[in-house]
Symmetry: C2
Subunit: 179 residues, 2 copies
Amino acid sequence: MKKKDFVVVRYGHRDVRDYRVTSHCALVSRAFGASKMIVCESRDEIAENTIKGVNENWGGNFKVEFIQDWREVVLKLKKSGYKIVHLTMYGMQVQEVEKKLIKLNKIAIIVGSQKVEKEVYELADYNVSVTNQPHSEIAALAVFLDRVQQGKELDKKFLKSKLKIIPQEKGKKVINTKK
Amino acid sequence: MKKKDFVVVRYGHRDVRDYRVTSHCALVSRAFGASKMIVCESRDEIAENTIKGVNENWGGNFKVEFIQDWREVVLKLKKSGYKIVHLTMYGMQVQEVEKKLIKLNKIAIIVGSQKVEKEVYELADYNVSVTNQPHSEIAALAVFLDRVQQGKELDKKFLKSKLKIIPQEKGKKVINTKK
């Protein structure tokens, strides 16, 4: 089976107010098996450092990049064979569209925040909603990644991790593999 | 079939820094079919007003309550027949535990934020992780609610909504039912 690749494109990050949301998006992208998040706005050291620290402790090689021009990013991804999925509450229902998307090997997922330009809807191959209700781009991203991978990402191993959790019924068990 | 009920308990909300996260948790709880969120900390008017506005426009009767003492909340829910699920990266893997949880009719889901007291792990019937990786309580909540309802929440209708989205392949279509 061909290896799948998921890239997350964070559109319209608005400094202060959004820094936690962007950090959450990055952590979710990593935890749910994406290889990279591209943030299309001003450099966000908080999100960057959060991911750096998480990679060091918990492994894997998830990356965060900052490229201002979202159009350039999306067109480049399209050229490299990625299908573009734009998550929006106005889109087609994920439970309908996912049957097609599950078969794709390269998906770039645009996650909006503030008002999204009309062109994003036009450039996207699929505009997809996770519920047609207002909620959270972090939640939509996680549920989308879970459904499009049919839960397989939940068994993902993160290479070169320093820390590793042994799931417990009560309490916490973390082993330090470097000790 | 007996109607299922999901209540979300937000543990340890820390004013300023967390207000957006709490709002996102509330919106996710509502959109993914929970009936109520109980916030175990200081009253948060932003989260409260966000939900009020969303209910008015988008329907349903999701509620947010504020009760300081989380222990009181959890014990009362237990007494009323709710099984307590505590979402934590240290818990048993959701893909394993969900087979049991899918059968339950009343689940209260504890969503932590800052450091969680040991007693939460003890009082919970199930400590459950959505990936054993650090990410976002908002994402964990959404994926948990999606999996435990086997996606049925995605077809939920919200009664008495003023606005209603008609899913589109491109662009937005919202109808105002009160006009």
